[in-house]
């Protein structure tokens, strides 16, 4: 297949696989190297400097990290990030899987429901978060009003003003936004499971729980692994919801690492310190990516193919 015969480099560029490949990859590569790879490296470098907005920094070694390791707000944000990611991911998974199973039934208006359910995911997060801000208002929350009408509470709930209330409120908003993605992806996975397997198992006397546990779940595992990795990754690095709903408050109770990093770097001007917080997220992200990688490997292996 060596199409590149003798000739100048121009012929090589336009005729051979590698030459053409190089040309075709160029635009994407330029963008990704200039605005992704380079910033990633620069971010790591900034984390080891004392750069401020408007002032180039010098290398200060691990000073940012030692400073952060004694910063209680930083550790609080680490705790919050893990708490937020864990609870929100578990809820998104459980509710998303449930919704996917419901949608996989023979429903009337199935396409309509599928379309409507994706809406929270389509609408800009900041804008739907504003609606949640209004729903979580300390005085005029519609939830408080309904609960008071029903006589379940006496005074409006201070959703975003109390640390634990605020944590659970932002988690609720995150779950609300994340369910559609999990549900629709898992639904796509469910639809690839041959109906004949379920029918055969049903004929052999398996209960619906047994069929779910022994057929649906194992066949769905690879896609669950991938979907949940994405979900965990995006929850872990979430910024928008927190920034709109609480800006990290009350008393830093909902600061995630991403919001704290923004807070210190942009309004605070401490680019180096902000970068250090962002860099501190990388090990966890790597762990999640490796997990995803092995999830994909396993899927290939299950399909019995090398490629």
């Amino acid at each position: 297949m060596a199409r590149a015969r003798r000739g100048g480099p121009l012929v090589w560029l336009t005729e051979s696989r590698n030459g053409l490949g190089l040309i075709f990859m160029l635009p994407a590569a330029v963008f990704l190297i200039c605005f992704l790879t380079y910033p990633l490296g620069l971010g790591v470098w900034l984390a080891f400097t004392d750069t401020k907005i408007g002032r180039a920094g010098i290398f200060i070694g691990l000073e940012n990290f030692t400073w952060l390791s004694e910063d209680r707000v930083f550790w609080l944000s680490v705790f919050n990030t893990f708490f937020y990611t864990l609870i929100a991911s578990v809820l998104k998974f459980a509710l998303g899987l449930w919704l996917a199973l419901i949608l996989n039934e023979n429903l009337p208006f199935k396409n309509f429901f599928r379309a409507v359910i994706l809406l929270p995911w389509v609408v800009p997060t900041v804008l739907s978060a504003l609606a949640f801000w209004w729903i979580f208002d300390s005085q005029f929350s519609i939830i408080s009003w309904v609960l008071m009408k029903w006589g379940m509470i006496d005074a409006p709930i201070n959703f975003l003003g109390e640390p634990w209330n605020a944590r659970f409120s932002v988690i609720a908003a995150n779950v609300w936004r994340g369910i559609p993605f999990v549900a629709i992806s898992l639904l796509a996975g469910l639809q690839t499971i041959p109906q004949s397997l379920n029918e055969a198992a049903a004929l052999d006397g398996a209960t619906s729980w047994q069929r779910f546990r022994r057929i649906t779940l194992p066949l769905l595992t690879p896609i669950i692994a991938v979907v949940m990795t994405f979900s965990v990754l995006f929850t872990f690095t979430d910024f928008q919801l927190i920034y709109v709903l609480t800006r990290g408050g009350p008393v830093n109770a909902t600061h995630l690492m991403a919001t704290l990093s923004f807070q210190r770097a942009i309004p605070g001007g401490q680019l180096g310190e902000g970068a250090a917080i962002a860099v501190a997220m990388i090990p966890f992200l790597l762990a999640a990516i490796l997990f995803s990688f092995f999830g994909l490997q396993r899927r290939r292996w299950q399909q019995g193919g090398g490629d």
Binding site: I102, V122, W134
Partner: protein, 292 residues
Amino acid sequence: MAETPQDDIVGMEQFNSLPRRVVVTYIPLAIFVFVLLFPFYWMAITAIKPDHQLTNYNDYSPFWVVQPTLDHIKFLFFETSYPGWLWNTVVVSVASTVIALAASVFAAYAIERLRFTGARVTGLLIFLAYLVPPSILFIPLAFIVFQVGIFDSRLALILTYPTFLIPFCTWLLMGYFRSIPFELEESALVDGATRWQILTKVILPLAVPGLISAGIFAFTLSWNEFIYALTFISSSENKTVPVGVLTELVRGDIYEWGALMSGALVGSLPVVILYSFFVDYYVSSMTGAVKE
């Protein structure tokens, strides 16, 4: 069908018994749909409520509006910079989507079909690039944007959005190109077509659904983007809708909920309308990106 107690096919039974179906399927589905849609209803109803009804839950039912008004939307369009933000968002989203799509088509074709040396590794790197979150890139990017001298301009966003669009689109298009039979390309090669002709005359027409999926998805992603726009833009006239609504319509302690919610509603409509026309493309791009 007669229901026999000793029926072994427990799973099939549920297709017959309506009450069970109602409890197991319809009621949970109704609750899901209600919860997932309620914030939009609340957003919409607030946007058209006159101010005196907004917080007066005793005299007016909060769930309904008595005399709907367009005052908030009028305020938005005639007394704030909202139209400018909408325009900025459109310009930035369209430009970055076009750039990302063009770059991605070539990249995906090269990785999937030219199979140059190292194509598989490149494909994997693209996937990894997709997993790099904006929240760890915005600080160094702000630094770069500042140094290049495009801080506080739409160009800053147009150039940085492709960083998360290109990996996504490339990955998606790779899947589409993979599904196009090799034989078509081979016969075109035998007939003497160049690679460029094959790409534009054979592959692209067949990959139109993939291009639409990638395009509308990229458009939605850039429309929804927030952290870069918040960091790189400082003057009011260059802001995008999400940033503008949040930073300019929220003033002091008295929130103008009507204006805020109509800002959120109007800002959501373009993507929702686009979505309603292309639901299946959205679903296929979402699941396609995850599945591969």
